[in-house]
Subunit: 211 residues, 2 copies
Amino acid sequence: MIKLSQRQKEIIDLVKEKQPITSEQLAGKLNLTRAALRPDLAILTMTGILEAKPKVGYIYSKKPSYSILYDYIRNIKAKDIMSKPVVMDEETKVYDAIVYLFLNDVGTLFIENKGYLVGAVSRKDFLKTAIGGTDMHQVPTGVIMTRMPNIIWVEAGDSAYLAAKKIIEHEVDSLPVVEKVIEGSKELYKIVGKISKTNITKLFVKLGNDV
Amino acid sequence: MIKLSQRQKEIIDLVKEKQPITSEQLAGKLNLTRAALRPDLAILTMTGILEAKPKVGYIYSKKPSYSILYDYIRNIKAKDIMSKPVVMDEETKVYDAIVYLFLNDVGTLFIENKGYLVGAVSRKDFLKTAIGGTDMHQVPTGVIMTRMPNIIWVEAGDSAYLAAKKIIEHEVDSLPVVEKVIEGSKELYKIVGKISKTNITKLFVKLGNDV
């Protein structure tokens, strides 16, 4: 892992403290010529750590270079961060499904029929049912679940970024990660994983970890 | 925003395709001398885009330079991403609290007493109560909430990274962002915001956005 040089770190600290600061002023503070500083300043602006404002001077950039952060984040795949989905069938009574949800300590259950995704049901759906006066011991989960094709999904090769974007845009807690299967004229979906806000939050923590 | 040069992009593509590849091989493919390549390779390894393995060659690094990503992520503050907390008092009956939760479209309610944090109650707590046979119209929320000092919180100046870490480590959906107030010998907490997995997921999407 490449680290910044001691002089580059000093430059960053000076800029943070005195910004905006010109290369002339920086050279003065470091007892160097401007020419001697040029390579370090080139690297620090290339990496996006510093920003050079014409006729103003250098400032400390809050955001690292577009290409580095963007490229890194977009290269993490759904399959790299997905976890095991908890699946059930739609005949299961709502009450038993809630117990199953707690036993597995998840927020969403995915519903399968003959091995293919047909629905999804979340803690929020269950809570709505629970206060709605429904007899949870009688009603099957199929009645309250969200049904295909209204389920938002991703594929294993999609980016984690796309998964997070879909979670936010469609206001859901969790997405199934699916594998498409063509059967005659129909497109069916095998559930191979799931990505929830928990997976994204864990990934964010990993990005910020110092190892 | 500083961008990589055309030649640097060509180098990255070559390394991605042929890795590991030596600087000699790279120079050959680009019709350049090794000396002419040196500044570009220095920048690409400094930024952590490429990794130089001694006696092996250059490889494309999956993770950008420690200092850049780490520094950027650790500099985002809780106050930069927090949202408005939804608060209630502990006398409110469970049923009414659940209705209030849906009306505000949140996953957690924070409970205040005389302006200070005393508890928190989540969709999961409510669902557990709902299937437990409790009379939700009679029981006050105070009976089922998590009570101080068992609530995990952060302060506005803490990093978003710390908030995400606490959410994962303590397996909660949401943290109150608090301001400490000393009253006599007691430390009290004013709720000034909240950070949930949704806030962290939104932040991750923002990091991956191309603007």
